[in-house]
Symmetry: C2
Subunit: 348 residues, 2 copies
DNA sequence: TGTTAGCACTCACTTCAATCGAGTGCTAAC
DNA sequence: GTTAGCACTCGATTGAAGTGAGTGCTAACA
């Protein structure tokens, strides 16, 4: 039994129809709606074959067929035709992006909103994180008589601060000088580079500052670690409730529960980070409560080693080609803006 | 017809039972479960009165009664007895708070999670915002050959930065000197204080820097404006789906939609900002999709004029006394920690 | 006069059977 | 290999009957 052209046409018809109507598709529907030039009886025969091959499923005897995860996989890999964004959609995306230049967190927030509006699914965006966070500049500033401000600029132009509280603060001159020295030594370092050797060297060479140095080193570590944490922006969760597949409240609840677990989401997004775009269909996804969901992730880059991920979560019956095209549009838009941002203007 | 003791006892019984079971409460149930020493017939007569007075409602003839918003209001204002937190709950809150000291955004994130776990409702927390954001210190730092870093510390110890991108960057000396001057002039100012007069004065006195001054002033404004934006943390939205009152998916969806509108949430939280604690019951709340919800807000302070709000959103049939006690516990815990934070260590 | 027992009545909810109809699989004819 | 025809399946809908929690009213009681 081979997957001939006609079978493929029928499979495609089933998928298209099911994506549109969310109802099992019968042979007569296909015969009427899609002029394949064959009768419903013939289509029935082919459908029987397609079911045997695992591409479609009959939810119960005497019902129409719905695509299986395998069917969607075939569709996504070979059958799906690329959609172009409509000029309105393109315009909409650009407006969002341009209106929010400058503040990367608001930009991503708005992007997530836009994507959920355009796709009618749930959007999750992770803020860009550098694979290796490298110190570009370190400064110490006296803040008041009990605290010093540590400012670290990373090579991809993120700025992080930390207020270091201490009993008594040395003279301004001293703080600035110490800052300059640390800057001199640690420039270009990642957290991993600041190992015991480096610390010992600093302790030796900066013996005169032994009162405050430990505080400062600890603050540097804290700050660098915090920079590694991933921030997420999510939008359009309510769209889930519009999907008939989640009209069962228990199902919806457990999905919502999952969507509140940051770790799970981060893992999910990370899994797609190697490729430009990745599509996880139904049970290809390991998370139990998302077995009826597909997740499409796209990676956006910002400089050489800083990247974030956009994920669209919808039912397996999602409009894949629409989502893919919207995602493509968004990624190219955002990368354009981030290119500018990468040269300055980032705030975190 | 007066609201005598017996009527109040019956009303209280109805409310307690309804909060527990979510089912309309009948006279026989009350007679059996709460030994008021009167028969169901008498209770029926009293209930009829209570209904006439507007405290309870009969969803349909021949069903039990449920409390009206007015009934809940009476309960909340006069009948509700304060619950004490159990030692476990108290411990749980303290653990959360202590485990996350130092990073205010993570702290609030975890707090929101904890509150939604303890209450089984949805929690929204706004990050503390100063009523009047006052500049404590301004610094300019050369970052690289095309950008300067602006650092503003506000009087309540929040740190904000902004990378100012410009064609060519003056010499380090110049930047530092300019920074010192701005710091000298603008210390203690709010955004409102930096009016046209001040700007003109700066432009006159810093004429030699006319090439970069406008960039910097614009950056200061942007940064101060961004500091005013409210950040929200939300958790436990999935709890909504466990409430029988939202088993109607349409209702649930429209509530979820509302919960994604930041403006609405901010307004909601702001409305409670004047009081320590505020309870909005059902339609006392203006938002249409929240007419079946009650919102309890509590304000937490951090220093004299910096405050944030915690809001718990649940069905009008929420366990008010439980929520109030958990909120009280949380506020006192968080204020303790923020007191320390306010003296340093905040990162934004 | 307030309380209570008793009873008729209401109405949402459940159950069950009948019916409907979309869809299938199989067979026989083309 | 394709198709028309037909019996069959089974979820969904409809409607009638029954159930039960709950009410309001009345008359009797303390």
């Amino acid at each position: 039994m081979s997957l001939n052209d006609r079978k493929i046409q029928i499979l495609q018809a089933i998928i298209n129809d099911y994506i549109e109507t969310a109802e099992p598709v019968g042979s007569r529907t296909i015969a009427k709606k899609y002029n394949l030039g064959i009768s419903s009886a013939t289509i029935r025969n082919e459908m029987s074959d397609l079911e045997e091959m695992g591409f479609i499923i009959q939810p119960h005897a005497s019902s129409g067929r719905i695509p299986s995860d395998l069917g969607y996989r075939l569709y996504v890999d070979h059958l799906m035709q690329k959609k172009e964004l409509s000029p309105e959609e393109e315009q909409y995306l650009q407006n969002i992006v341009n209106r929010n230049v400058g503040q990367i967190d608001y930009l991503l927030e708005e992007m997530a909103k836009a994507l959920s509006v355009l796709t009618n699914y749930t959007t999750i965006i992770s803020e860009p994180v550098s694979q290796t966070i490298r110190i570009k500049q370190i400064r110490l500033l006296p803040l008041d008589d009990a605290s010093i401000l540590l400012v670290i600029a990373t090579e991809d132009n993120f700025i992080k601060n930390h207020v270091i509280k201490m009993g008594s603060v040395p003279h301004e001159e001293v703080i600035l000088r110490l800052g300059m020295y640390l800057n001199h030594v640690l420039q270009g370092y990642t957290m991993a580079d600041i190992d015991a050797d480096v610390v010992r060297r600093l302790q030796r060479e900066l013996a005169e500052y032994s009162g405050i140095l430990p505080h400062i080193l600890k603050a540097i570590e804290k700050t660098m670690r915090a920079a590694e944490k991933v921030h997420l922006h999510m939008s359009g969760t309510n769209n889930i409730l519009a999907c008939p597949e989640f009209s069962d409240i228990q199902k919806a609840k457990s999905l919502f529960q999952t969507l509140e677990e940051k770790d799970v989401l981060v893992t999910l997004l990370e899994s797609g980070k190697s490729d430009d775009m990745q599509i996880l269909i139904g049970s290809e996804n390991q998370v139990q409560s998302m077995k009826d969901c597909s997740v499409i992730t796209a990676t956006y880059k910002m400089g050489d080693n800083t990247r974030g991920t956009i994920g669209i979560v919808g039912p397996t019956r999602m409009d894949y080609s629409q989502v893919v095209s919207v995602l493509n549009g968004m990624v190219s838009n955002i990368e354009k803006v981030l290119k500018n941002l990468a040269d300055g203007n980032k705030n975190t």
